[in-house]
Amino acid sequence: MSPNRRHFLQSLAAGAAGIATTGAPRWAYARTFDAEREQAPAVRDPKYLEWSTAALGEAKRLGCSYSDIRFTRNRVQSIGVRNGQILRGGGGFGGGDATETYGFGVRVIHSGVWGFASSPLVTPEEIKRVTAVATDVAKASAIAKKRDVQLASVPAYDEFWAVKIEKDPWTVPLEEKIEHLRSVCSTMQKNSAVMFAVAMTSFEHEWKYLATSEGSFIEQEFHFTSCEASATARTGTQVKTRTLERLAGAGYEFLVKADMPGKAEQIAAEAVEHSMAKPVGQGLKDLVLLPSHLGLTIHEIVAHATELDRIAGYEANYAGTSFVKLSDLGKLKYGSKHFNVNADRTFPTGMATVGFDDDGVKAQKWPLIKDGILVGLQTNRETAHLIGEKESRGCTFANHWRNYPFLRMPNVQLEPGPKGSPTVEQMIADVKDGVLVDGSGSFSIDQQRYNGQFGGDAFWEIKNGKKTRMVTDFTYNAITTDFWANLDAVGPPESWEHHGLTGDAKGQPVQSNHPSHGSAPCLIRKIMVGAAYS
């Protein structure tokens, strides 16, 4: 399911979707540290080879047919400013404290069944104990199994892989980051009709070491940067918030390029205009959707629907199944001829870009939809055999050392149209009665990804080929295959953007994933608008 909004900050801290409840356990496992002093872990530290070899040996001695051990260390710094004042969340979160979480999880197959256990106490004795717990858990489960877990084959790798960044966020002083956010806030607050101005940023560095009984020893480093600026305005009883939100697998340079200070004035002005805007009304309209909006639409009605574990029923009790059936592969008409979608774990700066997944499978790119026809699915080692494939597509992921890995979506990207395809301006000129939509808002969809109701962050009326004024009370209803069948144009390659998101909740216990979804602007004809407000 989808981003439960909002924040990168919160999801990194809580690691889970769902409402916050007083007295909830703190699954943060965090240690706080001085971001500017603390160095990243040493690459290829021999102790992990030693500890993991011992764990895999112990699992083998206990009779496990498969085992892996995954160490992760995540360091997060998040800062939020509201009307110029530093936000202070739970445990100082949001106030600029940098937190670290470090631990390991052991996953085994014994008696044909998975077992998993994890701990924050990283010592040889605890690794041995946790390996035994994981094995015991698997053994206890065997009385209720119907079939053995079946894993696709995978080569063994001994590699180090890292996201390339231009500037390490951990070298930038806290004071400089706070000042950056305060300047964004103060620009928005210059507009006297703005009630609240909020600016936030968050940086994460993740280190991961995976060893498997297949012979792999894989070490990886990731960086994630997010930022958000929002202004809230109220006119009469109409309260509206305009938000700019950006996330990527990148370093500090991403915050600079996002240029929140340069966009703050416009954000404030559009919040005020939105608070005064008239309802869009109800009816069939043409939609010009910008990439900032399409990210979540692609996420909900393409990316989730093509997860093979959902199709096979693994998520029936929570995130849901899919309207896509196994027999649809190669046949289902998912959209118009303009509709081409790839899954991609290799795309630079993607939020779900990796060197290897948590099964130890090398990252790859492959087509899901070609010329409107469903041609591929997302698989991992456990599910590949369900569609007769011999190798995994590499979609296993756990969001934390404490959590078990399972099938999670990669970056899923709508390919741009060919060179010379219509620009946003040309799409608008070709619309008589429509709406231009930017950003993401209210999103809801059924458990099979068929009936979606989507909002956005800002909306402009299009009349007779012209963008006229902001409107409000906008939602649209999409039946997935009808919606993409009405895809009339996709913008050219130079208009393609990708947008990262987080809060993608799936699994029990629920885990939050963070993919990116890219697209060019799209023109979709004749979509029902405004039914939520009728």
Binding site: M1, N4, A16, G18, I19, T22, G23, A24, P25, A28, Y29, R31, D34, I86, G91, G92, F93, G96, D97, V113, W114, F116, A117, S118, S119, P120, A134, D136, A140, S141, A144, K145, K146, I178, M195, F196, T232, T237, Q238, A312, G313, E315, A316, N317, G320, N403, S442, S444, D446, Q447, Q448, Q453, T475, I479, A505, G507, Q508, P509, A532, S534
Partner: protein
């Protein structure tokens, strides 16, 4: 993994003795989270997670910082404390900082770690799965379920001498049954039980399996306004949509449903719902057995939020209360949440309905408009048409767009409250006592053929 009062106090005392500042507070959390998950009638995940941590906050005037560690040796604690001290001094003043809560705080005694839940392990969970799957096979459906368990300790201590401790153990059993051809789906479950002997895996499976079988071949009805009977799970999800609005600060800042038309004013004292709507935080409730520790270590007391449809209380944290010169609230809105019910059974609600819908589950609820509490969501896993007091057959799922602000004025019958999680997932505490509800004139806006 269990932490006694003495073990926790030894750790928190150690931190308080080591830290040098104007004020120090320590939050301890630790224990075990474990779970068994199954799908297509076979176990797909089984896990045991252990954690322990302290969050340490130091105060110097209006400056503070929090650090944390999950290792309790002297060196780890010393590092965490020294870093908090240094970070606090670099921090800008925070005018919203409040002094530490002073003792005495008289916490209501709550026995929340019953042996049956503490000892509820992977073998017990596997036996439940086997029992459930056997019923599924007999009835010809596939079971997909989740059995989470928490055995957890939360504690709070500060340099004013306050110490609060709460340990609990609870489990849930949540199940979706589907027909093998994917044309029928049914849900049943119970959550947050401190007394796990109340989990009847067999009875829950019977309900979910029957719903799956009866939901096959649904017919499409026209979207429109319907009388709906919400079983406790969809009722709990619908109730959750009110929680944010019970906070005083956004109400007085003019950005919530509880904001009055005049800026800075709230709807406190106004009648906003029907006479039969009463919503409380019943701290000490003997079924919920939830924490008696409130925000900042305050001793929580029962609070009535909505009484017979009128807004009786809003939640004021200590800072906002001081700023607005109002008393603070020692209890958060989701603590020990109870919605008062009635005596009606779901069967009686069905009998009393000329034409309506029986809803087993609400899914993917998201806000559409925060000031009016307009939300959208889907029905799922068992939607049935009621005609002339009887179930007439399954119906294709609907998307709805409605608001508790409107619907809680249209509640015509209420059942007896039962434990049910109000959140989308079931992992953290969040169980409330919620009744089934019959709501008139509920807005179903479009159809989904999803099963």
């Amino acid at each position: 993994m269990s932490y006694s009062v003495e073990e926790v106090k030894t750790i928190t005392d150690k931190v308080l003795n080591m830290a040098k500042a104007d004020g120090v507070e320590v939050s301890f959390a630790g224990g075990e989270r474990s779970a068994t998950r199954y799908a297509n009638s076979t176990i797909t995940a089984n896990l045991v997670e252990h954690d322990q941590s302290v969050f340490i906050t130091v105060y110097y005037g209006l400056k503070s910082a929090t650090t944390s560690t999950h290792q309790f040796d002297d060196a780890s604690l010393k590092t965490a404390i020294e870093q908090a001290q240094e970070l606090a001094k670099r921090r800008p003043d925070n005018p919203e900082l409040m002094p530490l809560v002073k003792p005495p705080q008289e916490y209501l005694p709550i026995d929340a770690a019953l042996p049956s839940a503490v000892d509820f392990g992977p073998a017990e969970r596997a036996r439940m799965v086997a029992q459930s799957v056997a019923i599924c096979e007999k009835k010809g459906v596939l079971g997909s379920g989740y059995i989470p368990k928490l055995h957890w300790t939360d504690a709070y201590a500060n340099s004013e001498g306050l110490f609060a401790y709460y340990r609990y153990a609870e489990a849930s059993f949540i199940l979706t049954c589907r027909t093998p051809d994917g044309t029928g789906s049914g849900w049943a479950g119970t959550t947050g039980l401190k007394d796990v002997t109340r989990i009847d895996a067999g009875a829950i499976t019977e309900v979910a399996a029957d719903k799956a079988l009866k939901s096959r071949k649904p017919r499409a009805l026209e979207p429109g306004n319907y009388t709906v009977i919400l079983e406790p799970r969809p009722a709990a999800r619908f109730l959750s949509l009110l929680m944010f609005a019970l906070n005083a600060r956004p109400a007085e800042e003019g950005r919530s449903f509880m904001s009055a038309a005049e800026r800075g004013q709230t709807k406190l004292g106004q009648k906003v719902f029907g006479d039969n709507i009463t919503i409380r935080s019943d701290v000490g409730n003997t079924i919920l057995r939830q924490t008696p520790i409130g925000p900042d270590g305050l001793a929580s007391r029962p609070v009535t939020w909505i009484e017979k449809g009128a807004v009786k209380s809003l939640f004021y944290d200590r800072y906002w209360a001081k700023k607005q010169q109002k008393p603070f609230t020692p209890t958060g809105p989701t603590q020990s949440l109870v919605m008062d019910g009635g005596e009606a059974t779901v069967e009686q609600m069905i009998k009393s309905t000329k034409r309506g819908l029986l809803c087993s589950f609400f899914w993917y609820i998201r806000p559409v408009e925060q000031m009016t509490l307009l939300n959208t969501g889907m029905t799922r896993d068992g939607l049935f048409l009621i005609e002339n007091g009887e179930i007439a057959g399954p119906v294709q799922n609907f998307r709805w767009n409605d608001s508790p602000a409107r619907a809680f004025n249209n509640v015509s019958m209420l059942g007896r409250p039962v434990p049910m999680h109000i959140g989308e997932a079931y992992d953290n505490p969040g169980t409330a006592l919620v009744p089934a509800m019959k709501i008139e004139d509920f807005r179903m806006t479009s159809i989904s053929p999803a099963v």
